[in-house]
């Protein structure tokens, strides 16, 4: 379930918009400062996971709060302010990455279909597999890495992730399923490479 903004935050947002409508920008900024103080670390953590580069992540996080301020009148309270801010942060991060045109490893979807690797097919033990999984996660595109992080690490429900990423929950479920398969393929490839190297060492 997507959390609705608690009463205190809704009242604050209401006051900010009232000040803005009255033309008192300074008072609106002072009221809004509460949200910046409270959520700046969380939003920065979010943007760092998306754009990796620290300086860029700070810039994107700043832009997030500025944009959220300018759009406060559109905030409906269906989600918490933090979830709503994360949605803005996600879009800002994606725009930032598009401008940088980074390339990520992308496995053809055709390889993913019908792949089901059994445990006994891995040549490494669990510890090694987890290390390979970490490497594979780093190679995922940022949006897929974020999806996996929000779902498996932060345990967010799909509905909330769907709001942040502006996607359908069902489509995200299928995407998660495919990402898992993709990770398994990447691990298998890394294992095969490692075995090859050992053979010729």
């Amino acid at each position: 379930m997507v959390k609705t903004t608690d009463i205190d935050e809704r009242q604050r947002i209401s006051r900010v918009t009232d000040y803005l409508n009255a033309g008192d920008r300074k008072a609106a900024a002072t009221e809004y400062a509460y949200f910046v103080r409270r959520y700046s670390q969380h939003v920065l953590d979010f943007t760092v996971r998306m754009v990796s580069n620290r300086a860029d992540a700070e810039e994107v996080a700043q832009n997030t709060f500025v944009k959220a301020f300018s759009r406060l009148e559109t905030f409906e309270g269906r989600a918490s302010f933090l979830t709503w801010a994360c949605r803005i942060a996600y879009n800002e991060s994606i725009n930032h990455l598009r401008h940088r045109k980074l390339r990520w490893i992308n496995i053809d979807d055709a390889q993913i279909a019908d792949i089901d690797i059994a445990d006994d097919e891995f040549s490494t033990g669990r510890e090694e597999r987890i290390k390979l999984m970490e490497e594979a996660l780093d190679n995922l595109p940022p949006d897929e890495r974020m999806l996996v992080h929000l779902y498996y690490y932060e345990d967010k429900p799909l509905n909330e992730i769907a709001f942040i990423m502006d996607a359908e929950a069902n489509a995200l479920a299928v995407r998660l399923h495919r990402i898992r398969k993709k990770l398994l393929i990447m691990i298998k490839q890394k294992e095969d490479e490692r075995d090859e190297r050992r053979r010729f060492a």
Partner: protein
Amino acid sequence: MKETKDDDLREALRRSVEKRTVTKVPADFFDKVIGEIEAEPKTIKMWRWVAAAACIALVAGIGSAVLFFGKTAHELEMIAETPVKENVEIQEPAVVINDTTAEPAVAPEPKLEAPQPKVKPNTKPEAKPAPNPNLRMERPLYAANEPTTDDRESANSDASQKAAQTNYAENQIETDDPVFTPAMLDEFIEVLAEFQGVNKINSECSIANDSNFVETFYVFPVKEEFDVLGQFVQMVGNYSNASPGYFFNNTEQQIFFSIDDEQNGVNYFWIAERIDDSKIMIYSVHAPIDIEYESDCYQQFYDDITFTNFNTYY
């Protein structure tokens, strides 16, 4: 096996997060944000933009005037100076200016292909019959022999011709646009099953040694907070009824959905059925398109789970 992989993933994420040094919010972050917010919105000096737009319009106007008047004058010269001779073959333009004697050449009308007949799905629910546990799939009989190479080739060429006329089958996935292939519904059901901890059951009574014919069953528990049938129907709604082989129908107890994947030559068929107050079964079968088959597996499995302790499958 699935739990192991999920645990590996969670553990990998946890270690990855731990290793990453926490990026602390810089000391001036707050001041920068508030400073930017407090600053008055920049007034756009309109006159500069208007002047720039005017310059551009002027340059564009002069350029197009030069091009247009220059060309028109040149064309007029050509028409005036080039008499039409009977022995000289000239290519008549589509429209002849200032020549009222010659009939204007008319470009041939493009050939319109006969509209392809669309599959008319019977989406109206039939008059609600009483639930019939003896219902069989109404599909033609499965051919005992495998299709010959010639048959396959002709089937493939037919399929490739048909593919050009379909909606999703002609979409080559070159962009990030989400195209719903039939296989995605199977994936979605698999995801639903994972979330509910339901195992996939491969039918043992499928036609022996025929990997082209795949039957799968899932048995979901009925839960108030999780509407399996609703999720299934919602996903089905992503497919256009103009898709090849599209068929959708439902009764009180059952939902039928079928669609063809002409790129891979496979027909997909699903039945989602509420067995009783505690179980919902989703059955899927893939088979080559246009191959006739009949399966008793569905009925056998239905009978099994109707009279068996649910936990055997859960």
